[in-house]
């Protein structure tokens, strides 16, 4: 057994982390498990694909690979625009479905509606793009050895860097800005936040925008490193939930830590028992944490 699984695990963990942050924020601020979060990931990837195609058609040279990466500026620009669009999709879904249920006060029905919405969105993607996998680029990348028996591709290195940057940005947002403080306040005590002058509706909107755009980033990463298909986000849902619960609901550092644990465990399992058992790892970790410490590693004990 080599240490390759550590690199693979970190990359998977980074990916899962971007999605898990959105899940944990939605969970703690809106108080429900959003089963449609996987579809934000898939939508983000497809939106980027479409936009990259359009940008590549308009701007000659934008499809040229940047350095040793497999993509050009078209994809990068498309990704940024898609992040905004995915954030808007999340807002739209909240406006159409979740907000009304929230006003009625039926938390678990919101979960149910999110499940229905996720099914509809997934099917819509399948209808528009068929279930055939597709890719951002057909370029083959060569994995370079970086020591300790580990090999990584340029794409993987770049994406690890981008994720780290995003995570730092989110951390700074949450700890150093008023918006971030407001989010933490609403997550802890919504009625106290209200009387402290916080517009909770605005915080909710920010949460959706943030969660949606991070999910899009995860989708672009996943599409780049593996492939793009309608079920890509849905298949990530269990690891996302496992990571968020493992780290402690509401804790963004927890979600990242949980994601890394899930990612590395999955990669180790792939090396030891085979890739087909990968999905079971998340379930085992989830069951384990619920049995031992349901509030998660960074969560407060009740």
């Amino acid at each position: 057994m080599t240490l390759q699984f550590v690199a693979d695990g970190l990359i998977a963990g980074a990916l899962i982390g971007l999605g898990a942050i959105g899940v944990t924020l939605t969970y703690s601020i809106l108080r429900f498990a959003n089963f449609a979060h996987g579809e934000f990931i898939s939508f983000g990837a497809y939106a980027t694909l479409l936009l990259a195609g359009a940008i590549g058609a308009i701007f000659a040279g934008s499809t040229q690979s940047i350095g040793s990466l497999s993509i050009g500026w078209a994809v990068v620009a498309a990704g940024l625009i898609a992040m905004a669009l995915t954030g808007l999709l999340a807002l739209a879904l909240d406006f159409l479905v979740f907000r009304r249920l929230r006003e009625k006060g039926a938390a678990i029905t919101t979960v149910m509606a999110s499940f229905g919405a996720s099914m509809a969105l997934r099917a819509l993607l399948e209808f528009m793009f068929t279930s055939r996998p597709t890719y951002f680029s057909r370029d083959l990348q060569i994995a370079m050895p970086i020591g300790l028996g580990i090999r990584v591709t340029p794409d993987q290195m770049a994406l690890l860097g981008v994720t780290a940057a995003l995570l730092i940005a989110v951390h700074l947002l949450l700890t150093r800005t008023q918006t971030g403080r407001a989010m933490r306040a609403v997550s802890e005590n919504p009625s106290l936040a209200r009387v402290a002058g916080i517009d909770v509706d605005r915080v909710v909107r920010t949460t959706w925008l943030l969660g949606g755009s991070l999910a899009c980033a995860a989708g672009v990463m996943l599409g780049l490193l593996v492939q793009i298909r309608p079920y890509m986000g849905f298949d990530l849902l269990l690891p996302l939930f496992a990571a968020a619960i493992l780290g402690g609901i509401g804790s963004v550092p927890g979600a990242v830590a949980g994601a890394l644990i899930v990612g590395v465990s999955e990669a180790a399992a792939v090396q030891m028992v085979g890739a087909e058992w990968r999905a079971a790892v998340a379930f085992l970790l989830l069951s384990g944490i619920l049995l031992i410490k349901p509030t998660g590693l960074f969560g407060k004990s009740e």
Binding site: Q178, R181, R184, A185, E188, S191, L192, R194, V195, G197
Partner: protein
């Protein structure tokens, strides 16, 4: 007794409750003058807490009006009421335990203009030196008395015209209760009107100008604070409401 026209806060025939059709406050009226301390007393279940929460915007109002400095705030959401100058501290969970003392204050400062924020926060620290020493501490680790100070400081930060408190003495030792209440006195002296709900009638009546006694969702009695401590009508109201249980610190 203040002239209603000069009152900073007027509650007129308020009907409010958690569920529509099941009002807990059933036609309560009160007024608060610009530099007054008014206390709302009454037995458990009278609706005192519900009343003050409804004024703060946390509980749906089914009927009646709330007027703050001449502006009708009845239909406003809680965060707008806060921005209009009514600061509320709840009885339990009145600070963000998971955030530092400094973050609690910085959060509240969001209402103010950016240039004013740091200055006002430092003013609060000057007012509550204990808190200044523990800026970086998670609010959940503060002692009960310090937490109450932080809750009040958080509310005062924005320079409200009215400070509304729900049982500020809850969970505090008698010595701390005296400290908190003398602070409230200072705050009133600085020009902030205060309305508080209290079980500890003795401490509250010592600093209040006027008191209202609530019973079964309505105001049953009102009067100048000094006389109420020995008023037999008050005792009757309290004793009448004592069938279910004894309020702490009832007038004796």
């Amino acid at each position: 007794m203040n002239d209603i026209r000069r009152a900073i806060l007027v509650v007129d025939n308020l009907v409010a409750g958690y569920e529509p059709g099941l009002p807990i406050v059933n036609g309560a009226s009160l007024s608060l003058g610009a530099a007054e301390i008014v206390v709302i007393l009454g037995p458990n279940g009278a609706g005192k807490s519900t009343l003050i929460k409804a004024v703060a915007g946390l509980i749906p109002i089914a009927g009646g009006k709330v007027i703050l400095a001449g502006k009708d705030i009845t239909r406003l959401p809680a965060h707008q009421i806060a921005r209009n100058g009514l600061a509320f501290t709840p009885q339990t969970e009145n600070v963000f335990a998971g955030m530092t003392v400094d973050d609690n204050l910085r959060l509240a400062s969001g209402i103010l203009a950016v240039s004013q924020r740091r200055a006002r926060i430092e003013e609060m620290y000057a007012l509550f030196p204990d808190l200044a020493r523990q800026r970086r501490l998670l609010a959940g680790r503060l002692s009960g008395g310090q937490r109450q100070m932080l809750a009040i400081g958080r509310a005062l930060l924005v320079g409200p015209s009215v400070l509304a408190l729900d049982e500020p003495s809850a969970g505090l030792s008698p010595r701390l209760v005296d400290v908190v209440f003398s602070r409230l006195n200072d705050i009133r002296a600085s020009g902030v009107a205060i309305v508080l709900v209290e079980q500890n009638a003795r401490a509250a009546l010592a600093i209040a100008d006027r008191a209202y006694i609530m019973s079964e969702g309505r105001i049953a009695h009102e009067g100048a604070a000094p006389g109420l401590a020995t008023d037999p009508a008050v005792a009757a109201l309290y004793l009448g409401g004592l069938k279910a249980g004894t309020p702490r610190g009832a007038a004796s």
